[in-house]
Structures are given as C-alpha cells and as structure tokens.
C-alpha cells in the first residue's frame, strides 16, 4: 500500500486548513453561496436533498484496515452510522453537516485520505482493477501506474479547470474489471513484441446522456511514456473541449466529432512536441512506488485440506466458494469478494460496524488490504485458503457473506432520488424489489450471471447503459417511471444496451425482470449467460414477454 511522502502530507494538511477557513467564512456570511459552492465542490462536498453529502476518494479502490476503520468512525460520529460505496469506488456519506466537514477532512488526513477532486471539472479519483496484485491474469500491478497518475493529476495546475470532469481507469488484466471502455481514458496493459509493457489507450468512452464506448487511439504506448501521453491527451481536450455547452463538454463528444483517427493524430502531434523526460516518471520514482505494492506472500501448498474439509461439511461455505472466492496468483491464497448486496437492503451501503469487521479481517487475514469494486462490493484480496472458512464465518455473522457475486441480486444502484439532487427517480427500492424476488440463492444460482444496473437519472452513475439489464429512472409529470435496456456490458465484451420498449411504472419493474428471466431460462442453450442468449435472440422475445397483450 502506497504511503504518503512529505509532499503528500503537506499539501493535504494545507488544503484541510484552507477549507476550515473557507467554511468559517461561509458560515459567517463573508462568502456567499455562489462564491463558496465551487470551493466546497472542490473538496467533494455536495448539498443534496436532505443534507450535505461528502464524497471521499479511495484511490484505485485500495484501503488498509486503518483507513476503513477511520471511514467507519467518521460515519458513526458525523453521519448516521453508514456509508455508500459508489461505482467510482468512492465512499459517500449522505448526512453530513457543513460545520463538521473541516473536522472530517482532518480525520481523513490522519489516515492519508482526502476528498479532493471527487467533484468539479478536474481529473477525478483514478480507478483500477480491484483484483490488482492478486489475479493471475495480469501483466503488472496496475496500481503502480494508477498511483503515478494520482500523483501527477492531483492539484495539477494545468488541468484544474478542464471543460468538464475527467475520469481515468487502469487495468493490466485480460478480463476488464475496471470498465475501461466507459471511461474518458481507459488504459489496458498489453505486452509488446519485444516483451516490453505498454498500454492500449482508449479515449472518449462514457455514459450519461450520450453514451459511447471509448475507441482505441493507440494500440501500444510504452508504459514508461504514460504520463507524457496522458498530458498530450489532456492538452488537446483542454484546448478544444466544448466549454460552451455542458452537455457537449466531455471528451467523448470531442472524440466523436473529430473521429478517433483525427483525435489520435492531434494527440500524437501534441505528444511529439512535448519534453517527455520532463513529464514521464523516472525509473527511480517508479521503483519507489512499486515497492509499496509488493505484498509479502508466504510459500504455501496450492491446495488446503482445511478448506476442502470445511467445504464438504458446509453447504453455505461451498456456495460462497462457488460465487465469492476467486483464484489468486499466489499458490495457497484466494481472492474473497465481500458482497454488499443483501437482498432487500441498499446496494453498496455498509454500516460502521461492518466496516470494523472487514477492517479486522483485512488486518488478520488479508495482508492489511481491502479493495472497493465498482460493482459496489468489497474485496479481501489476499486470504490464505486455510483461512477462508474463518473469514466466511465472520463475514456471515456480520451479514456480509451473501453468495451472489455477478448474480441477479448483485445489482448496481446509484443513490437515486432517495438522496441525490440530480436524480429523477429512485433506484434503491427498484433494486430491493428485484433482489427480493431472487433472494433464494438456489434460484439466483440457476439463473447464473446476470448484471442489473440501475440509474436514477440520465447521468448514469448506476451504469445502466452497460447492464445486461439496464434500468433508467425518469420523471413523468411528477411520478417515477423506468426505461429498460438489454444487452449492455461494461467489460471486455463491452456494448451499450438496447431499449426494450416504453417506460414502466415503478411497481412493474421487478415483475418485468422476472418475465425476462423466464424468457431467458426458456430460450437459453448450453452454457449461455443471459447476455449470450439476448445477443442470439435479440430483443423480440423479451419485449413480447413484458408488453404482450393477453388478447
């Protein structure tokens, strides 16, 4: 885990003190709301429907026990005892008081965290594959590069006032667990002909009102040139991005209007002008960062008799192993997914007590590491196979062992209109109703992989465009309705979903999902996932099941 150096510590402390003064000036009336709003947003503090919301950055979704405990402490002390993990691997606290915000930032600084650049037209918190450093299918630990990007992009003066917000995701694995194709810049590590590591660079992906999958503008960028190339992309965007129209200001619009080839040409020309050595990370600094991402694994046998015996005796553990435990690159270890998707509860929500439980487990069983996945689940990345039964038992006791990773009840839902000032409709109750219908783990297992993603407005924080079933809340004359899309994916087989038909009222959505699942179970051929069946049959049978007149 990367530790702050003296520079990191100093600027976070400065920023915290500065914000304290700004809050005091706002409360006294010295600053107007118009003057203060951009300042609080630069520190991730929004005003929402019921209170202020603080969005805390979790760089590349990596936490230590100490950090997670601190988040739990803040939630318990300054909020209502819970927090909400987001699709950007951040944590949102929804009941914050403005007068408490400076104290909270001080608590965060104590554990090397902050909330800078979680809002505003800046380079936002960088995300990465949550299995980084643990999965066998990666070429390198992408967090080394994500940390380099974090250092480069934090308070970067040239990119503090971009045309619009800007998000970067990094993966080094074949399986895309970082949704890189829906990011402003998606970076996927590749190995070059000579064995050199580099990145495929995708630019201009994004969801929202105008969804795009990011086209590749460079098949192979030598990794050592990452920062100078990012700088060239940002410079082209900063110069030509549409500042005149908020709906056209994201880089995806620029890339789409120019065409990927022309955009790439302009980036290459900009890059050719630059002094790469001045921007690219020196090998010594890269080595310093890398040293912080080198866990000390023990040499263990690849099979654990303890685990095999426990599995044979415990059906719940066996089911948990099938869905929540994944292979690790190091023999004798496993990646354990912690589901925050108990059917009937709020996707991504976690109580302070649960944060303490996972922090304790991380410290004792997972080399002091926890990860946040954009699917709004947590991960204990380095658990010894021998320890999996104990970890499972302790997770189960805390309500954290739902065996449903990637199943129908593992639903992404944004906070929606229950909290968010931008939303048009609620997302959480829709997720709850659907998950409750599939709460029986045997039934969910029979349905298999099915990714439902729900957004409460077109901004698409719930990634509905790339859900196998996507659900978008809309407002019709003051009432909630929901548009359904099918066939989306945010992974290596990325696709944007296709509209099913007219919007459904709230009380019909779960029923419609059940009808579509019935169609899938009827139509599926050997081994097909819901997405595969949809891609083979098209929308027609699903549409007919949901909308067909009985006459």
């Amino acid at each position: 885990m990367y530790r702050y150096d003296a520079i990191d510590k100093a600027f976070v402390a400065d920023r915290t003190a500065e914000f304290r003064g700004q809050v005091e000036r706002r409360l006294s009336g010295e600053l107007t709301e118009d003057q203060f709003k951009p300042i609080r947003l630069l520190n991730g503090l929004y005003l929402q429907l019921h209170a202020y919301m603080l969005r805390i950055a979790i760089p590349y979704g990596t936490l230590t026990a100490k950090k997670l405990r601190k988040l739990g402490y803040i939630a318990k002390t300054y909020d209502k005892g819970y927090g909400h993990f987001t699709t950007r691997t951040n944590l949102q606290l929804h009941w914050i008081k403005l007068k408490d915000a400076p104290d909270i930032l001080e608590h965060l600084a104590e554990v090397e965290m902050h909330s800078m650049q979680t809002s505003g037209n800046t380079i936002r918190n960088v995300t990465a594959d949550p299995y980084a450093g643990a999965t066998a299918d990666e070429l390198d630990d992408p967090r080394v590069w994500a940390e380099a990007i974090r250092q480069w992009s934090t308070l970067h003066p040239e990119f503090a006032f971009l045309p619009r917000k800007f998000k970067i995701a990094v993966t080094a694995a074949a399986k895309d667990r970082a949704a890189t194709k829906i990011y402003d810049i998606g970076l996927a590590m590749r190995r070059g002909r000579g064995g050199e590591l580099g990145f495929e660079v995708m630019v201009g992906g994004g969801l929202g009102r105008t969804p795009y999958l990011g086209p590749t503008i460079r098949e192979f960028l030598p990794a050592r040139h990452l920062l100078s190339y990012l700088e060239a992309i940002l410079r082209v965007y900063n110069r030509y991005g549409r500042r005149d129209n908020i709906w056209k200001a994201r880089i995806k619009i620029l890339v789409a209007q120019l065409g990927a080839a022309e955009f790439a040409r302009q980036v290459e020309a900009e890059w050719a002008k630059g002094d790469h050595a001045a921007t690219d990370l020196p090998d010594t600094e890269l080595a310093r960062i890398r040293a912080d991402f080198t866990p000390r694994f023990e040499k263990l046998p690849g099979r654990s008799e303890t685990l095999e015996k426990a599995k044979a005796a415990d059906r719940d553990l066996a089911r948990f192993l099938r869905h929540n435990v994944h292979p690790h690159k190091q023999p004798g270890y496993a990646i354990v997914d912690v589901s925050l998707k108990v059917p009937g509860q709020t996707p991504g929500d976690m109580t302070s007590e649960q944060m303490d439980v996972v922090a304790n487990l991380a410290e004792r069983y997972s080399l002091d590491e926890v990860r946040v996945h954009y699917t709004q689940n947590l991960i204990l990345p380095h658990v010894k196979l021998d320890d999996v039964p104990a970890v499972h038992a302790q997770l189960a006791a805390a309500g954290l062992a739902t065996p449903n990773i990637d199943l129908i009840s593992d639903i992404i839902a944004c906070p929606g209109l229950d909290y968010c000032a931008l939303a048009n409709a609620r997302a959480i109750p829709i997720a709850q109703h659907i998950a409750e219908r599939f709460a029986d783990p045997a039934r969910a297992e029979e349905v298999g992989e099915l990714k439902i993603k729900i957004s409460g407005c077109i901004n698409a924080c719930g990634h509905h465009h790339v859900g196998h079933i996507g659900i978008l809340g809309v407002d019709k004359k003051g009432e909630e309705f929901y548009q359904v899309t099918l066939g989306g994916s945010g992974e290596e087989d990325a696709a944007l979903g296709q509209m099913l038909g007219p919007a459904l009222p709230a009380d019909k959505v779960a029923e419609a999902v059940e009808q579509m699942v019935e169609v899938y179970l009827r139509e599926r051929q050997d081994g097909e996932r819901f997405l595969d069946t949809y891609r083979r049959t098209g929308v027609a049978p699903f549409k007919e099941a949901v909308y067909a007149d009985a006459h």
């Binding site: 009336g29 403005l98 959480i428 003051g478 009432e479 007219p502 949901v546």
Partner: protein, 119 residues
C-alpha cells in the same frame, strides 16, 4: 398553489417558509395562492445569506384532500429516503407524513404495459 423551501446552511436540513421563519415540516409550510406574495417571500429568503441555501418555490397539487408537492423529488425531500424509514422527517410520523407518502403527482397512468399487440 406554491410553497417556499430550501436547505439550512449549517446542516443542510430541508425546511419550509412560514411567515418569515423556517419550519421543518411541510405540513406547517405557508401556502401561497398568488405569485407576487410567493416571489416576495422568495426574494426575502434569498437575501438572508447565512440561513438557507438556494431557496426556491415548489408547485403543489391537491392529493386526497391535502396539498402535497407536485413532484416526487419534493415529496422525498419532505419525507426522507425510502430505504431508511427511520431517517429524515418521515421518522416524526403523523397524519401529514402518511398523507405525503400516499400523495401522487400529476401522472396517474399505470404505464403502457399490456398495450403492445403480439405480431
């Protein structure tokens, strides 16, 4: 009919205007049946920089014999998040809260399901 609402600067709580004061319950809000009076109250509220952030007028609709905010968004603000019934103003309980929970906006349709004919 309209009401004036905003969020308190200090803690963000949703509040409603009543005769120059801010009150926490929608049921206690002053109702404006003419625009000039409502707009005058809004202008006054906006001049108080340290009390409420961004006050604004909301449209009301008659629902089951009571006035309720037209938009679902505003009804959620009056109640609190539906995933945590113990949080927000809904925790106060009472007939006014129950009425808001059952209120409807202008859209009464149950949607257009069952309207597409089989080909």
């Amino acid at each position: 009919m309209k009401a004036l609402t905003g969020n308190l600067l200090q803690d963000g709580e949703t509040v409603f205007w009543r005769d120059g004061q801010w009150v926490p319950r929608f049921a206690d809000a002053q109702l404006f049946d003419d625009d000039p009076t409502a707009e005058a109250a809004e202008a006054h509220a906006k001049s108080e920089l340290t009390i409420v952030v961004d006050p604004y007028l909301i449209d009301l609709v008659e629902s089951e014999g009571r006035w309720a905010p037209l938009s679902f968004r505003e009804r959620i603000r009056c109640l609190g998040p539906s995933n945590h019934p113990q949080h927000g103003k809904q925790a106060l309980g009472g007939a006014d809260i129950d009425a808001l929970k059952h209120a409807h906006g202008a859209a009464r349709s149950t949607g257009r399901v069952n309207l597409i004919k089989r080909k």
